[in-house]
């Protein structure tokens, strides 16, 4: 700058024009360059200072940020209500080979057969000596097998990463979960019902939360299995339901299967007795008849019916399993499970109204639970007088255990019907539909509790948990008649009766009496203890406190039941 100033001043001072010397021309040209460079340097330093002073730009750094690649898998996990993993997709390896690169097929075949005992050596050798350049040897190896094969060091053997669906709890909850085929398509249970949702690419990282509680599921499965073994039953079913929301906490069907390996599993094991099986459930149906009668004010608890002798209607004879041969009050009819009394009560209700009530409580339509294996109830197309009488105590109508539990839940929870659901949904009670009045529900709770303390369900009384419930024993229909020896014995329990929270149902298919049960195989003998044990095991898990019972709640009705 200074030189430039000096030069212009000197030019101003001598007023005469002189031809510039080559040196001054070079100098002035050089000056232009210098000025340009200096401007550039000044600009750069200003910019540098500017950058140094400025706050760091957040969005500029974001571009450079390194993103952790998310773990992608093709199917959502399934978890229980507490987040316990029930089904999960894991990476596995499948083994393939390029037979053209195999030098000694016999040796390789022998080595492989040693690691994979389910493959035959001869077949492997034949495969490995073929002219192809790709053959599958085994899909979905265990990590151990993969390691062993890697250790062989045969260059012709290679792995391809695949996904495998794993059920860590094995047989537990197999019927509710269902299973998938080798390509991961749901074929049964929740896997099938929610197949689209589970394989939706955008939602695979979001697990599907079921209403099941794996601990409750195990308690029920374990007890049912033990009872099945003790009584040599051919099958069993059971479920635990939250009576306020209809959430199914446990769903058991025996015999069961391992969803990790469904090859060779027969239809008998795959059959879901709790939702697809429909059974004539016997006396548990009296609960519905009584609720219906009390709610319609057809009868009050002070009424009663004559049960001195069997009831004859056309060619049928209605008998009592525990005959008292006297006049019985309504609470006695319920507690002692009198068919004669209940049938007369049903006649007073009337067939049409009975059908309407059964419809309203969901016993005549298939359950809307989230399973594809749902059985349709069976009942007479022509609802005659005799049907009215037999249906009142649970014969001539076959429903699934799930329907029964849903109906009973509605009776005890204050009178609102919530459809059974396998999805965790604490707010499901809001969709409830009123089917009976809260007052009737209270009366039914008293009756159910007394059926346990004074009636046929005594062996379900888990100390401290105020269990209420109804036994059910029905002969299996066979060839137009009933088979005397093969029974369906069940028990429907609800606890605690002063504030109903959970319904527990247990059913045994064709149980045999044992020495402990004095040869009896009815619901009160074989199924009630299952319910009792399940309650004792699960109530602490579910947060139900044992308490001294307030006897006053049941006193007025208890007085009407006369033991003899």
């Amino acid at each position: 700058m200074a030189t430039l100033g000096a030069r212009s001043i000197s030019m101003d001072l001598d007023h005469t024009y002189r031809k510039p010397t080559p040196l001054s021309v070079a100098r002035s040209r050089l000056m232009v360059g210098v000025i340009l460079f200096m401007t550039a340097f000044v600009l750069m330093s200003v910019r540098t200072i500017n950058l140094g002073m400025a706050a760091p730009l957040a969005n500029r750094t974001a571009e450079r940020q390194i993103v952790v690649p998310p773990v992608v898998f093709s199917r959502s996990d399934i978890v229980d209500r507490n987040g316990e993993v029930l089904a999960v997709n894991l990476q596995t390896s499948s083994l393939y080979a390029n037979p053209q690169k195999v030098k000694d097929p016999a040796l390789v075949a022998e080595q492989l057969a040693g690691i994979l005992p389910e493959l035959s050596r001869a077949e492997l050798e034949q495969k490995l000596s073929s002219k192809k350049n790709f053959i599958w040897i085994k899909r979905k190896l265990t990590p151990r097998q993969k390691w062993q094969i890697n250790a062989l060091g045969v260059p012709a053997l290679n792995f391809r990463a695949e996904e495998d669906r794993l059920y860590p709890h094995g047989r537990l909850a197999a019927h509710a979960l269902g299973y998938v085929d080798i390509d991961g398509n749901g074929l049964a249970g929740v896997e099938h019902y929610f197949d689209e949702r589970l394989s939706e690419a955008a939602r695979t990282s979001e697990p599907l939360a079921l209403a099941l509680d794996i601990r409750v599921q195990y308690a029920l499965a374990d007890e049912l299995e033990a009872a099945m073994r003790a009584h040599q039953a051919i099958g069993a079913a059971g479920l635990v339901m939250d009576v306020r929301t209809g959430e199914v906490l446990a769903l058991v069907s025996m015999p069961d299967f391992d969803p990790n390996n469904v090859r060779g599993v027969g239809d008998a094991q795959k059959f879901n007795r709790a939702s697809k099986g429909v059974y004539e459930l016997g006396s548990t149906f009296k609960t519905f008849t009584f609720a219906n009668a009390l709610d319609d004010r057809v009868a009050t608890l002070d009424d009663g019916y004559d049960a001195t002798k069997p009831l004859k209607i056309s060619r049928f004879l209605i008998r009592d399993d525990h005959p008292k041969k006297r006049y019985l009050s309504l609470p006695e009819i319920f507690a002692f499970s009198s068919n004669i009394g209940t049938a007369q009560l049903a006649l007073d209700i009337g067939g049409e109204r009975q059908q309407e009530f059964m419809q309203s409580i969901g016993l005549l339509t298939p359950s809307s639970v989230e399973l594809t294996e749902v059985g349709a109830p069976m009942y007479p197309a022509n609802w005659r007088k005799v049907s009215t009488m037999t249906i009142s105590y649970g014969h001539g109508i076959a429903v699934s255990p799930l329907q029964l539990a849903t109906g009973i839940s509605a009776i005890v929870n204050g009178g609102t019907l919530n459809s059974a659901t396998l999805l965790k949904n604490k707010d499901a009670w809001q969709d409830g539909q009123r089917v009976i009045s809260p007052a009737t529900s209270r009366q039914m709770r008293q009756l159910l509790r007394l059926a346990v303390t004074k009636g046929t369900g005594g062996r379900s009384d888990a100390t401290g948990y105020r269990v209420g419930g109804k036994t059910g024993t029905a002969e299996k229909a066979s060839g137009g008649g009933y088979a005397k020896k093969s029974l369906i014995s069940s028990f429907m329990g609800v606890y605690p009766m002063d504030d109903p929270q959970y319904a527990v149902f247990a059913l045994l298919d064709e149980p045999k009496g044992t020495k402990e049960t004095f040869g009896f195989a009815g619901g009160g003998w074989v199924a009630a203890p299952v319910v009792k044990n399940v309650i004792l095991r699960t109530a602490p898990l579910l947060g139900v406190l044992p308490r001294e019972e307030d006897k006053g709640l049941y006193q007025n009705i208890a007085l009407m039941i006369e033991d003899d």
Partner: protein, 139 residues
């Protein structure tokens, strides 16, 4: 003077150039580190899934029950073992149970063994005594 200036400028240019290269490599190394960590996180997430499944398998109620039967003497809980509220917890026995002698100052373990002895002698009287102690409060 001019020469000195040139030297200093050259030196500056050299050092800043060297520093820049140094920085570039350092940044590259850090970027590689970050990438490696990201890969590691991804792998860990994958193994976490496997481990979660394994955990679920190993803690499946059936497995736990088998182990419990093998190693522990646990039974399903009876309703007597469940304490519903604080008021249901029996209060610790006060002095009169120990009897006012020097053993009051015994360690808790010794007191316990003494209590057990008494319990074995007179179970019914003892429980009645416990109730009294409750009403009198823990002094």
């Amino acid at each position: 003077m001019r020469r000195l200036f040139t030297c200093i400028a050259a030196l500056c240019a050299l050092t800043s150039g060297a520093a820049l290269i140094q920085l570039k490599y350092a940044v590259q190394e850090q970027a590689e580190n970050v990438e490696a960590i990201a890969r590691q996180i991804h792998q860990d997430q994958e193994s976490l899934r496997i481990l979660e499944a394994e955990w679920a398998y190993l803690t499946s109620p059936r497995t736990l029950q088998e182990l419990s039967i093998e190693f522990l003497a646990l039974m399903p809980p009876s309703s007597k073992q469940v304490v519903g509220s604080v008021t249901e917890i029996p209060l610790r026995r006060s002095r009169e149970v120990v009897g006012g002698d020097t053993s009051v100052l015994l360690s808790t373990a010794d007191k316990k063994s003494q209590k057990n002895k008494q319990k074995n002698k007179q179970p019914s009287a003892n429980s009645a005594g416990g109730k009294q102690a409750t009403s009198e409060g823990n002094t």
